[in-house]
Subunit: 229 residues, 2 copies
């Protein structure tokens, strides 16, 4: 600015800059508490110019949420190599990184933020859940999941969401412990379903057959045995 | 009507009648699809008279939701007698009764219905979750729960919600199986947490000490052992 030279940004470049600035603000404080004036000021432009690119705060919020959704869905992608438990644990670490980076915005969104009820917002949340679901099935090597497996995977995804939300509320438990816990929870929910249903039992045995003796699943079994004794 | 005599209802009585009629319609079809005309017709009064009691569909929806919330919270109340697993199973049966009775309305609400984003609606949903949380703690005999127990109970409540929602989407798994599964899930999530934390281990041993050999928790252990062998 002080050089007196200010490069003019193209329309798309400016939109992307505004989305980045807004996402950063929405991540650090509840989106309800962030004003267009603040976004304009952080972007170094005037309030009317923000409205030139986005008709209102909701459209800017939705654009920021879209970028965050794509970011999060990208973090679910994990190479199909090595034991399943270790893969899931790496994904959980990246999930908690995301939750950590976007804490207030994530809480506000999932607890009913400014754009909840907007069908665009709900569709974005569902698209991230679906991305997680598709990734998990692909790692399990299942193309046409039986209803019980779909239930285990989808309900575990909602368990991961609520675990992250509860963690954000005070951060009273170390996140590393919760990352491992969610991997264990997945195995536990699958085991409960497998205990009732033969098809799930076969699937679970397939999932666990390549788990190493020092992996998170073996770790859970060891701990449960010591708990029971 | 044909007698020519029509008793006049008092204001509160009429309001309660309209709430009942609306709740019944909102339970059978998505609330978005129910019109004020339909509610008026089902109540046997004119559309303007509905507006006399409720300024709009949202306020009638919120009143119906309030009644349903109180109904559901009431079903969580269970005598403090007998083994914990059997108590939780009875509550799960009543929970699925409720979900069954209010299927389309429950789905629409939890997936983002007409009044989502309304703070009154969110507060009602949270009050039901809180009622469930308080009941569970009281049955566990815990007054001041450690963070890990709070996490297990609250995240299990969200698991119960998502399990019910997934069940409603096609009803591909018998509800009786899911009622038992949720009791098992509670024990499994508590066991996972207990495997990592000594305080939770002590709590879990206390929870399980009075479980009978033919109760749902013992049933789970038997099934898991047969699965592992």
């Amino acid at each position: 600015m002080t050089t007196g030279i200010r490069r003019r940004m193209g329309v798309e470049e400016r939109r992307q800059q505004l989305i980045g600035v807004a996402l950063d603000l929405f991540s650090r404080r509840s989106p309800d508490a962030v004003s267009i004036d603040e976004i304009a000021s952080a972007a170094g432009i005037s309030r009317p110019l923000v409205y030139h690119y986005f008709p209102g705060k909701l459209s800017l919020y939705e654009a920021a949420l879209k970028r965050a959704s794509e970011d999060l869905a990208g973090r679910f992608v994990e190479p199909h190599e090595g034991p399943l438990g270790a893969r899931l644990l790496r994904v959980m670490r990246r999930f908690f990184d995301f939750v950590d980076e976007h804490g207030p915005g994530f809480s506000a969104l999932m607890r009913g933020g400014p754009a909840v009820g907007s069908s665009a917002t709900n569709a974005l949340i569902d698209s991230v859940r679906q991305a997680a679901y598709v990734q998990i099935l692909s790692h399990l090597g299942v193309q046409d999941p039986p209803a019980r497996l779909e239930l285990v995977v989808r309900s575990w995804i909602s368990l991961a969401e609520s675990t992250a939300l509860i963690w954000l509320d005070g951060r009273r438990i170390p996140r590393g412990e919760l990352e491992v816990q969610l991997v264990h929870d997945f195995a536990a929910l699958a085991a409960v379903s497998a205990a009732q249903d033969e098809e799930m039992g076969t699937l679970l045995r397939g999932m666990l057959k390549d788990e190493p003796d020092d992996g998170p699943f073996a770790d859970l079994v060891t701990r449960l045995i010591s708990l029971a004794s």
